[in-house]
């Protein structure tokens, strides 16, 4: 497993937004992680924790303040050659949160999906283009006649499928899914998640799955990174994080998930965590390995305390 080459490597990424001369929002502060080909990396955290910012920095919607982003061996954090840029724009795609807002209401679904093909001239003639669009529509569970419709004629779940189709048509190696299911109903969420898993199995694309709903993230992700206030506080495989959460923030996140089991849930209260009263300083800590790939942001003392507390807790 060790020799695997990461598809995406984010190294010490910092993304600051200067608001005024005196005040700068540090949306992402020193975050590093890796995504391997064909896996799903879940980024979780509350709103304002910087998870969307990371996604947007990776796809070059923002210019990083510091740090490196390496995609498929190419540094994509600074200036890039035209050829590299072109490669990046086909191989990395994004699925957005609100399926109504991210589809052009005046374009037919066929044109929305086909836009990438048009720009990169990826078809020989019109018949080829239509065939490609029809194939992708079938893959996401829509009928070929849907191509001639407009976004408003679809339900929320179907629109999200159009969003997925648009990302898939370029055969990307990495798909950044930014809260792509949060705007959908529960029963539709499950359909979209299943679809994303099927597509991954078929195409081998890697996902960066950004969400705040830990139960869905657990379901879809191979590895998870927990973000809080712009810092990556804990990362590891899904099993490691859920079986043995070490950081108090991760624990409070996990304890906040309501279980659909009334007899248990009625009595349970969630754990409370407040950064400002906890006395933890994220700037002082560094990522320390617990076991395997499981790492936590802590100072030496905190690390001792938390890992020991964990043993007592069990």
């Amino acid at each position: 497993m060790e020799e695997r080459v990461p598809l995406l490597k984010v190294e010490n990424l910092k993304q600051y937004f200067p608001i005024s001369k005196k005040f700068t929002v540090k949306a992402v502060d020193d975050v590093s992680f890796e995504i391997y080909p064909g896996e799903t990396y879940g980024l979780v955290g509350e709103s304002g924790s910087g998870k969307t910012t990371i996604g947007r920095s990776i796809i070059r919607l923002y210019d990083p303040t510091a740090g490196k982003i390496i995609f498929d061996g190419i540094d994509i954090s600074g200036k890039m050659s035209a050829a590299d840029e072109k490669k990046l724009r086909t191989e990395m795609q994004m699925i957005f949160q609100d399926p109504m807002a991210c589809l052009n209401p005046r374009q037919k679904v066929a044109d929305i999906i086909g836009q990438g093909l048009d720009i990169h001239h990826l078809y020989t003639d019109k018949a080829d283009r239509d065939a490609k669009i029809a194939r992708i529509l079938a893959k996401v569970g829509l009928a070929p006649e849907h191509a001639e419709r407009y976004p408003h004629q679809f339900s929320g779940g179907q629109r999200q499928r159009v969003g997925i189709a648009r990302a898939l048509i370029m055969n990307p190696k990495l798909i950044i899914a930014d809260e792509c299911i949060s705007a959908l109903d529960v029963s539709i969420q499950a359909q979209v998640v299943n679809l994303m898993r099927d597509i991954q199995k078929e195409t081998g694309a890697a996902y960066l799955f950004i969400a705040h709903d830990l139960s869905m993230v657990k379901y879809i992700s191979d590895r998870i990174g927990v973000l809080h206030l712009g810092h990556l506080v804990e990362t590891g495989t899904t099993e490691e994080i859920f079986a043995n959460p070490v950081h108090p923030y991760t624990r409070s996140l996990i304890s906040a998930i309501p279980h659909p089991n009334p007899a248990v849930e009625r009595k349970r209260t969630s754990m409370h965590y407040d950064y400002f009263t906890s006395g933890i300083d994220y700037m002082a800590g560094e990522l320390r390995t617990i076991e395997g790939t499981h790492k936590v942001l802590a100072t030496e003392e905190e690390f001792e305390k938390w890992t020991k507390a964990e043993k007592n807790y069990r």
């Binding site: 509350e46 499950a190 998930i257 279980h259 659909p260 007899a263 849930e265 209260t269 965590y273």
Partner: protein, 358 residues
């Protein structure tokens, strides 16, 4: 669990339709439900199932194109002379509702705290507004009570916060303020319409715990509208599951979660991601909800139901009572129906939940 108090709100045979450019949408079809004093009742359903419309109709804030076709909403309360009184809320005019019911007897917490607070008023003024309007409370007294309320909903430094504007507070704090406003007139019934969907998970848990605590302290009744079955498990005593404008199953939380009878409830429970097992695929209910523009023949859920019987396409199922408090609208419970058990994955999960509960 012991029976709690008398009925405070009883909705009977409520049917509501909306006039739209595309035609008449039958949003509610013969909805019955009741809330007892001191009880928490949840209404669960997908978007468009009519859960919000039900309570909006009951408290007279239905959109202008909506029309009540039939039904009653009987509300029992102590009037200003201290006598018990029962009135049909649907017979009151909008003005009467405003003056005697809304805010005073029945208060509502909406989904998004940013849109339900007035950005140009301090939160103190917004909490006091209702008290002054409904009870002519002297300003000093209202101020005192507002500070108490803020303290009760867990806002630190309440006196300082009174002068803050909504934009100075975080999302969770704003929702706490909205709850304080709702509680300011000592309502008998609090309606929470998806109170936590716009909030983060950690804050969601805090707000739910707060509402529960307040409810126990004040002994009021709460109606919860949500699509999250995890939330329901945490707060509710009684659940109503809605599908396509109808209540398809209702009962005590334990009955509905541990012994669900309606195939739609089976689907909803199965579709929840399970934290214990790592299944290959999530269960999904095939298809999508019916378009309520068309009249529905038979059981609205039949096209998505793998257990559907022939009769489902012909006749709408009545409510079959499983116990005194638990009933479901599915032909599967009819004496002549073949015996169909819930999917075995769900059975296994429920068994595991029961074991965990012990």
């Amino acid at each position: 669990m012991q029976e709690k108090g008398d009925f405070i709100l009883k909705v009977e045979g409520l049917s509501v339709s909306f006039a739209t450019t595309a035609g008449k949408v039958h949003a509610l079809r013969n909805v019955d439900f009741a809330v007892r004093r001191g009880e928490t009742v949840a209404i669960v359903g997908e978007s468009g199932s009519g859960k919000s419309v039900t309570v909006k109709t009951a408290i007279g804030i239905l959109d202008t194109n909506g029309k009540v076709e039939a039904g009653k909403a009987l509300f029992t309360f102590k009037n200003d002379n201290g006598e018990e009184e029962t009135i049909d809320l649907l017979t009151l005019t909008k003005k009467q509702m405003r003056q005697t019911i809304n805010g005073k007897r029945i208060a509502m917490v909406f989904q998004d705290p940013m849109t339900s607070l007035n950005p140009t008023m301090t939160i103190g003024d917004q909490i006091m507004e209702g008290m002054i309007w409904h009870f002519n409370t002297p300003k000093k007294e209202a101020w005192k009570r507002a500070v108490e309320l803020l303290d009760m909903v867990g806002i630190t430094d309440p006196e300082k916060r009174m002068k803050n504007y909504p934009h100075q507070l975080s999302g969770g704090m704003r929702q706490r303020v909205v709850i304080a406003i709702a509680l300011s007139c000592n309502p008998d019934l609090l309606i929470c319409d998806e109170p936590t969907t716009a909030l983060d998970v950690t804050i969601q848990a805090k707000i739910l715990e707060l509402i529960k605590e307040v409810q126990q302290k004040l002994g009021i009744s709460v109606i919860y509208i949500t699509h999250d079955l995890g939330v329901v498990a945490k707060v509710a005593d009684f659940v109503n599951i809605m599908y396509a404008g109808k209540i398809v199953e209702k009962g005590r939380v334990d009955e509905v979660y541990y012994d669900p009878k309606h195939p739609y409830t089976w689907g909803l429970l199965s579709a929840l991601p399970d934290l214990e097992t790592h299944d290959e695929r999530l269960y999904t209910i095939p298809g999508s909800p019916p378009n309520l523009l068309h009249t529905i023949k038979g059981d609205a859920f039949a096209p998505r139901n793998e257990f559907a019987l022939k009769i489902d396409e012909i006749e709408e199922p009545p409510m079959f009572w499983v116990s005194d408090t638990h009933c479901a609208a599915t032909w599967l419970l009819d004496d002549n129906a073949p015996k169909v058990e819930m999917p075995k994955e769900l059975r296994a999960r429920i068994d595991r939940m029961l074991k965990e509960a012990k």
